[in-house]
């Protein structure tokens, strides 16, 4: 596989996810005003924004309502520009810098309300930026391994944390989550209510697949596609049933790197 083509697909999926997420922020922009949920008057009382130096003064100005909204618009434009920039090999570093800096500012602006998908996008765009700055095949390969590593680490951590949790051992966790208004869906909760075996199977299925996802790295091609198909189905269901739409794109964006690394390992283990 051509590493630069892999980078292109990663960037494309990540940009779609981040663009949707950015437009969602712009759509609820009223919440960024002083009387909104993300009021900088409140969030700005954190230690990072306190002080009278030029850094805090700039930060406070950047994160006030209008400049921050402009940053969101600039980020959206940068996300639209990244795939063509990669395709035509021009301005990649500048575009990625805008994306990464806006990501960092978003995390400062919102200590609440950000989730794992935002964290994964920061990892992905950060790795792509370092790859572009490195400007060599070696740096690109390192970035691809980093992204695949973060994907495997995320599934393994989530899986092992569940596997050692007494709550998940009880086998009822999936129903208990789907039964909430926050992450659940009433028809699914109703279906699972009197079906403990299906609930248990879904609970352990999620734990086993998350724990085992790292095996994708030794599955080779086309074996790795089984794990990828599971991941796509898993995130599609999470988007539909749990409303976790942004997780779909951010985690799918890591899959080209996962496939690349799986093939690379297979080539080492079974040289032709």
């Amino acid at each position: 596989m051509d590493p630069s083509a892999v980078v292109f697909w990663i960037a494309l999926f990540a940009c779609i996810g981040a663009a949707i997420s950015t437009l969602e922020w712009i759509a609820v922009r009223d919440q960024l005003k002083d009387e909104g949920l993300f009021s900088w008057q409140v969030v700005g009382t954190r230690y990072i924004a306190l002080g009278t130096g030029p850094f805090t003064a700039s930060l406070n100005w950047l994160l006030s309502y209008r400049p921050f909204l402009s940053i969101m618009v600039l980020r959206f434009v940068a996300l639209l520009l990244l795939p063509p920039a990669l395709w035509f090999h021009g301005g990649v570093i500048a575009v990625l810098l805008v994306i990464i800096l806006s990501s960092l500012l978003m995390h400062v602006r919102s200590p609440w309300g950000m989730d794992g998908s935002d964290q994964m996008l920061t990892q992905v765009f950060g790795a792509l930026l370092l790859s572009a700055i490195g400007g060599s095949a070696l740096a690109t390969q390192a970035a691809l391994w980093f992204i695949a590593g973060q994907a495997c680490l995320s599934y393994a951590t989530a899986g092992v944390a569940k596997a050692v949790s007494s709550y998940w051992h009880a086998g009822n966790a999936v129903f208990a989550i789907f039964n909430t208004r926050t992450y659940g869906f009433e028809p699914i909760a109703r279906f699972l209510l009197h079906r403990p075996r299906i609930t248990k199977a879904l609970t352990w299925g999620a734990v086993i697949m998350e724990c085992g996802f790292t095996l994708v790295l030794v599955a080779g091609y086309p074996g790795c596609l089984i794990f990828i198909a599971w991941g796509i189905t898993f995130h599609l269901l999470n988007a539909t049933v749990m409303g976790l739409n942004s997780f779909f794109w951010s985690f799918i964006s890591t899959y080209p790197a996962v496939i690349y690394c799986s093939i690379a390992v297979a080539n080492v283990l079974h040289p032709k």
Binding site: I20, E24, W25, V28, Q31, E35, G36, L37, S39, V42, V43, R46, I48, L104, H107, S110, P111, W112, G113, M114, D115, G116, Q119, M120, T122, G126, A127, L130, I133, G134, G135, S136, A139, A142, F146, G149, Q150, S154, Y155, A158, A161, K162, S165, S166, Y167, A176, I177, N179, T180, R181, T182, F185, E186, A189, R190, A239, T240, G243, N245, F248
Partner: protein, 182 residues
Amino acid sequence: MAANGLITGICIAILAGWFLISVLAQLNVKAVAWLKVRDVFSLIPNWSFFAPRPGTSDYHLLFRDSDAAGEWGKWREIPLASRRTLRGAIWNPEKRKTKVLSDVVRGLVRLAQNQGFKDFSLTLPYLAILNYVSSIGRSPACLQTQFMILQSEGFFADRDPQFLFMSNLHNLAPSIYVERMQ
């Protein structure tokens, strides 16, 4: 050529260091925990989704207002969860609002369950909720507001919602609600 090699080396070292810190953070290594507290940019990920104990309760944020005569109105609920729709699997802006409300309410509940913590009214979650509740459009006759947090067990629950937290009474700033009512 040497400069290019050096830049590549630095980039690879950063990626390797970043990944190593990410791994150590998942293992709750103390040295990384110190870094994580200071990580305002969320560069160090936390991948333990829904574990060890997933959120299996819903929180309910309610508020009420009093008028000049000191009469309190009915409790009104601010939804913390949006209705699931097929479109929401692609486009879900409400999620940001409900997620942040849910996060601050959970943050305040965590503080409230900490027995050693006495005064919540200057904590960020408290101020964020108060700021939001105070800014909701209402009649100019309302002088004070108060919010409350309840906990329920979801769609199919065995028991009634439980009381978790009651705020102090807070005066409403006339300039804000008059402006928003216009």
